[in-house]
Symmetry: C2
Subunit: 348 residues, 2 copies
């Protein structure tokens, strides 16, 4: 059992407090987090990304102040702020490069924005900076699904596939700030491999993200496959993984086939990561887990992933590696960002 929740200071009256900021393309989630990873407050505000990085960074700073006040604290009570942001970025320099979900060029463009130092200036305290997927992984590792393990890979399944890797309390952030971009490991090298959102082919994200599920389902619909999805869509429902999950739960064979196919691809990707990192556990978070631990379909999705892993991985690893759902939900990002701030604070 790991000691990762050990207090930085044993003097309870003096344990440091942190603020975590999870910057998204739509919302900013901010919370005060204590030395044991407990959220003391949290607030969510819209990013208003179209108004540019200076505006959104001011909104982050305001949300930090609000979260501190909500917790009944003063800025001086906070040791450090942690910020998880969409990449790509230069983590060392604290700069956004060409963030994929934020407007890049021209007026109000985010490209090249020195986001870490700008936020530090507004907050009046040091800011620890990292990738949003890495921050979520660190949150799960610190106090969520990975809290009992010394190494973990978290896949965050959504529009794309985010990933974070932690080995012995250390994030694999990468020599060029591109560590744990496992949404882009190659599943298929063939000429007919699927096109990924990043512009290259055969990447995991092109097979097991929400985008991939929607595209694949549409292909099956276009091919005239019989499915109750057709009626739902004709009735005005939007084609989403959630709709596919609903119809799978209603007994539609094609919808279930799509869920199981997605699980198969995740299994293939997980084997590659197991044979590279050999983590103690692999956790699955994000909105695209077909109901997750709380649903029968989610458990079938997970079982199918494990079945594929058993078929393709070293038997000893297939047997011993924990594969399960993440537990912190949408809080993983800000809690993990606070945890990264805590790591930097304790290493100072």
């Amino acid at each position: 059992m790991t000691e990762k929740r050990r207090l930085i200071s044993r003097n309870d009256a003096k344990t440091p407090l942190f603020v975590g900021v999870d910057l998204g393309g739509t919302n900013i989630k901010v919370g005060v987090v204590d030395d044991l990873g407990r959220a003391l407050s949290w607030v969510s505000v819209s990013t208003e990304v179209e108004k540019g990085p200076d505006h959104s960074t001011q909104r982050m700073g305001d949300a930090v102040a609000t979260a501190i006040a909500e917790a009944g604290l003063k800025p001086a009570d906070i040791a450090r702020v942690g910020l998880g942001s969409p990449g790509p970025m230069d983590i060392q320099q604290g700069i956004l490069l060409k963030p994929v979900n934020l407007k890049n060029e021209g007026q109000n463009g985010w490209k090249g924005f020195p986001i870490r130092d700008k936020l530090a200036e507004i907050c009046g305290m040091p800011v620890a900076f990292n990738n949003d997927a890495n921050a979520a992984a660190y949150g799960e590792y610190w106090v969520g699904s990975g809290r009992e393990y010394d190494s973990m890979v978290l896949f965050t399944l959504g529009t794309g596939i985010g990933c974070g890797i932690i080995v012995d309390d250390k994030l694999i952030a990468g020599a060029h700030s591109h560590g744990a971009e496992c949404g882009h490991i190659i599943l298929d090298h063939g000429d007919d491999a699927r096109m990924c959102g990043c512009g290259k082919t055969g990447h995991l994200e092109a097979y097991a993200s929400a985008t991939a599920v929607i595209r694949y389902t549409q292909q099956l619909l276009d091919a005239g496959r019989e499915t109750s999805l057709s009626k739902r869509i004709a009735d005005g429902a939007e084609l989403t993984p959630k709709l596919v999950a609903e119809e799978a739960e209603n007994g539609d064979p094609l919808s279930l086939e799509i869920v199981m196919e997605t699980a198969k691809y995740m299994g293939v990707g997980i084997v590659t990561v197991m044979h590279t990192i050999d983590p103690e556990c692999v956790m699955l978070g994000g909105a695209m887990t077909f109901g997750g631990a709380g649903s029968d379909l989610g458990r079938r999705f997970l079982d199918r992933i494990k079945e594929e892993v058993a078929a393709r991985a070293f038997p000893a690893l297939a047997e011993k590696t924990i594969i399960d759902f993440a537990t912190l939900g949408a809080d993983a990002g800000f809690i993990g960002a606070a945890g990264i701030a805590r790591l930097e604070h304790s290493a100072r």
Copy 2:
């Protein structure tokens, strides 16, 4: 520039010395290595693996004594021994599990042998234990091709594909001693994916190891493809990657095609590792590099790998990640094993 070569002690007269042992299925290579990674002596003896693990471990111990004497030293001058061994193993426990290149079961079987403590008993000093591929990678990282970088992935191309990953002076050894088994990352998930030596399908090793090259070449020969290899084999030459390399250099188009195909697969595998670890450099060692840096064919092999990486990786990573040949050759194993002993010694 890293400080990994920094002396453990600044007092030159007192810097510790180490012995590295590289256990192979055919030979044992042992050398005394100083605190800067310089080999002061080395010896090679046959493993005599068929006589069982006790016998071979005694041979290792004798070779350690010989190497120490060859360097003009006494056992008391050595701080620690490092041992790199074929896996799979339990690194923490110092035990071999079912080593693939050594006889496992029955009399003189190696399965379950407590090799670390047995060698320590014979040598009368502590032994640091790790996977042979990890040891070779650490050697290259410490004083070889990776010496200027803070993170590295080494692929050792031979009968199989070994791999070692180092991030900030730390080996990714894995939660279950299976870290960096990147010969077994998945390149192809399809039903017609190639069978790997490990019994699973679609793994890198099934596409880019010497075994894979020989099998693929034989298939092309069986299919009646025109090639100067046919005459060489009819004249009594053995089908090996070296033969393919010779004929490629002699202008045989099919042989060159085989070399370039192998490079393509290595490129695919390297992209997956780049998108997982994002190392500063990826190095290629082992006997199966088609001549390596010293030959025109080796350089074409490397260029083709880089071309594939450029086609499939994030542009920023394809541009910045160093991909090159390893430089320590067959010395990487024992030097790296000594380096791992040095790591343990300095952490004591």
